[in-house]
């Protein structure tokens, strides 16, 4: 059996990151789009922790801590914006928010 090394984690993280990106591109519900961003951020977190282990360096873990704070702040504001829009237009999806173009 193959040895479990950091490459496995990195590949898994890259896959999660990509799945998140696909989700953001294909889902119309803005809430689900945000969830996909969370997936991407988690993939990055996993990458950081993996490097932290591989480099034997605590900094990677500290960074993940900050990323979590950032993610929380983003979610709060993002959900705020969605709530504001949904109040005006019930059940609007991402495609409906497209008055400006060209």
């Amino acid at each position: 059996m193959l040895a479990l090394n950091e490459t496995w984690y990195l590949v898994l993280a890259a896959m999660i990151f990509t799945i998140g990106a696909v989700g953001l591109l294909t889902r119309k519900n803005p809430l689900v789009m945000f969830m996909c961003v969370e997936l991407m951020l988690n993939a990055v977190n996993l990458t950081f922790v993996t490097f932290s282990k591989a480099l034997d360096d605590i900094a990677g873990q500290a960074i993940v801590f900050f990323v979590m704070v950032v993610a929380a702040a983003e979610v709060v504001v993002g959900l705020g914006i969605i709530v504001a829009i949904m109040r005006r237009r019930q059940g609007a999806n991402a495609d409906d928010i497209s008055l400006m173009r060209g």
């Binding site: 990106a21 953001l24 591109l25 991402a94 495609d95 928010i97 497209s98 008055l99 173009r101 060209g102």
Partner: protein, 678 residues
């Protein structure tokens, strides 16, 4: 004390005062103020001129640095002025003629609601022009270059309520931008090659520049010159620029701004000396432009258009001279041309004023009876431009031609083209004189040919306006200005030139400049007579600036050439006399075949478009339209087309945008993978 800085700053000061208090000064106060500052500037130029004269010949170069404008590492640009024989000579006639034309404008613009604004622009123009000439480095020259372009643009569209004028201004702007582009690139190339853009540094460094680089620099600057000086293929804007007030045509579009290209080439003569075949390009462009423009001038009916094409043609002469490295002749012709062409334009302006802003020569005739001063001075201008000795035009033209004759193996061909142009020049100028000042008083005819012209005009304008509007880059909903008829220069476009109209001579503020310019046109040649080096004042004066190594043909040949030129000029006058005065030959036969056979313009097209004059004009419009307008408008349409094609990509859908970001990211990754050590 060094007063050089005052030369451009006085008109600038005049501009600022007019900006603040122009309306209060009013009519004619603003005009007198504007004239005053320019006259004062002229006096300063004279003072500096004598300062220079007092210096020993090889030290005749004064510089004055005001402050460091751009301090950027090794690249330093100062606001500094360079007064040497070349620039001071330019300043002398710019401020001198400028002051006269300011004075003339007081009368010409009388009663115009934007009277003070006109002088505001005119002062700004002179400040820019003087900056162009006096700047001690390429960047300052470029600033002046841009400044004169802007003023020209503003003044062409001065009466911008007329859509034709706004469009003509726009065309001038676009064409000049193409030239400016060459100037900018040339400046950068000089900076990269020489490490400085100061003229003082370029001169000594020029001999070290590789021939290829020097050729590239020369061609780039020549591109700039072609735009500014209306040479083929960027000549299209100058005839249209006649939409502006006539003093503007005289000052900017004949005497000063359009010669900036010649000045630039002369200024960069150390580089030109290394530039090899670029000089041939310049000479041939000049010769061909002179020929084409002169032939087009033959068929014009609008008096200002004739003069406009004549200007293009004479500028071609100047480029022929500088292209054959005969700089003194080029500058000489520039000076004499400034005298007689300004005179002719101002005379034409006087005629136009007298004729209620009618510009169609077919409605003039016998005006010598009503406008004696204008007539007398115009005759002098006519003889001068035709090349009749001993007037100014003869001497300078002769020198250009003699220089061309001796310019290498192709010299005689260039000389022959020049001679042909001289013939045509004499012909079309005689035509103007006869149609305007002699013959019957045609505006009294009730059955006038203007109607036909008008209807043809309307038709073609409709077609043209559609084409232009579809690529209207700056968005003004205006039509093309290609068709003059009687539109151009009027304050209010008086088309009602009634049969019982009696023309009257203009105010003294207008005739005085005419008289002074007529004097200059007669005696201007004296500054450089070809009777041995004692008489070549101009050549000796310019010697420190221009590395003049040009050899003239031996004296007997020179004399022969001179007589050939006189003969050709007389022949041209005589032919025109036969055609237009004696009617021995139908005018149509000359006007149409010249154009048709020279430029292969379809004769059926001429028939469709109407009378012969109009046909020639149409032919020109067609020629310019396909070659230059087509290019300019094509670029515009291309830009708009691409923009409109791209618009749907900006769909407004946030998911599409995210997709764009993803694809961009994927492309960056794809590139970076090629850089990896896999």
């Amino acid at each position: 004390m060094n007063l050089i800085w005052l030369i451009p700053c006085l008109p600038l000061f005049g501009f600022l005062v007019l900006l603040v208090a122009g309306r209060k000064l009013g009519d004619p106060g603003a005009g007198w103020w504007g004239t005053g500052v320019v006259a004062a500037s002229f006096l300063v130029v004279v003072k500096v001129f004598f300062d220079l004269l007092a210096l020993p010949e090889e030290e005749r170069s004064l510089t004055q640095t005001l402050f460091t404008w751009i301090p950027s590492g090794s690249f330093k640009v100062s606001i500094g002025f360079l007064a040497d024989p070349l620039s001071i000579l330019m300043c002398l006639f710019i401020t001198g003629i400028g002051a006269l034309i300011h004075l003339y404008s007081i009368g010409y613009m009388k009663g115009d609601e934007k009277f003070s604004k006109f002088f505001l622009y005119l002062n700004l123009f002179l400040a820019s022009m003087l900056l162009l000439v006096l700047g001690d480095n390429l960047l300052l020259t470029f600033l002046g270059w841009e400044g004169v372009g802007t003023c020209s643009y503003l003044l062409i569209s001065f009466w911008h309520t007329d859509p034709a004028n706004a469009s003509a201004g726009k065309k001038a702007f676009v064409t000049n931008r193409i030239g400016d582009f060459g100037f900018m690139l040339g400046t950068f190339l000089v900076w990269v090659t020489v490490g400085s853009i100061n003229y003082a540094d370029i001169g000594p460094a020029a001999p070290m520049i590789a021939a290829g680089t020097a050729t590239a620099i020369a061609l780039l600057f020549f591109l700039g010159a072609v735009g500014k000086s209306a040479q083929l293929p960027l000549s299209v804007w100058l005839p249209d620029a006649m939409a502006g007030p006539t003093p503007v045509s005289a000052l900017i579009h004949a005497a000063t701004m359009v010669t900036a290209g010649v000045y630039l080439i002369a200024r960069l003569n150390p580089i030109m000396a290394q530039a090899g075949w670029a000089n041939d390009v310049i000479a041939w462009t000049g010769a061909i432009t002179a020929l084409v423009a002169a032939s087009i001038a033959i068929a014009q009916t609008d008096i200002k258009k004739v003069l406009a094409y004549s200007t293009v043609s004479q500028l071609g002469y100047m480029f022929l001279a500088v292209g054959t490295q005969n700089y003194v002749a080029g500058i000489f012709h520039m000076v004499t041309h400034a005298f007689f062409k300004a005179l002719l334009f101002l005379g034409a302006g006087s005629v136009i004023m007298a004729m209620s802003h009618e510009q169609d020569m077919r409605k003039f005739g016998n005006l010598r009876k009503y406008l004696p001063v204008t007539f007398a001075t115009f005759m002098i201008g006519w003889l001068a431009i035709s090349g009749i000795p001993p007037l100014a035009g003869f001497w300078s033209k002769d020198e250009v031609l003699a220089g061309a004759f001796n310019a290498g193996p192709a010299g005689p061909v260039l000389w022959f083209i020049g001679l042909l142009v001289a013939l045509m020049t004499a012909f079309y100028m005689t035509r103007v004189v006869i149609m305007t000042f002699f013959g019957s008083e045609k505006w009294r005819l009730t059955d006038d040919p203007h109607e036909a012209v008008e209807s043809a005009d309307v038709e073609s304008e409709a077609v043209e306006s559609e084409a232009v509007e579809s690529v209207d880059l700056v968005g003004a909903s205006v039509a093309a200005a290609d068709h003059g008829g009687g539109h151009g220069g009027g304050h209010d476009d008086h088309h009602g030139l009634s049969p019982d109209h009696t023309p009257q001579e203009s105010h003294w503020t207008m005739t005085a400049p005419l008289v002074i310019l007529a004097g200059l046109s007669i005696f201007g040649g004296a500054i450089n007579l070809p009777f041995g080096s004692d008489f070549k004042h101009l050549e000796r004066w310019l010697e420190p600036t221009l590395a003049y190594e040009h050899e003239l043909p031996p004296v007997p040949v020179l004399v022969l050439l001179a007589f050939a030129a006189i003969a050709v000029a007389s022949l041209g006058i005589f032919l025109a006399y036969l055609v237009y005065s004696k009617h021995k030959i139908a005018a149509e036969k000359i006007e149409r075949p010249v154009l048709a056979h020279a430029w292969y313009i379809d004769e059926t097209y001429a028939k469709v478009a109407g009378g012969p004059g109009e046909a020639g004009f149409q032919g020109l419009a067609d020629f310019d339209g396909t070659v230059v307008d087509g290019a300019v408008n094509g670029v515009g349409a291309g830009v708009l087309g691409i923009g409109n094609k791209l618009r749907p990509v900006q769909s407004g859908l946030v998911r599409s945008y995210a997709l764009g970001i993803s694809i961009g990211g994927a492309l960056l990754l794809a590139f970076i993978v090629t850089r990896m050590n896999l």
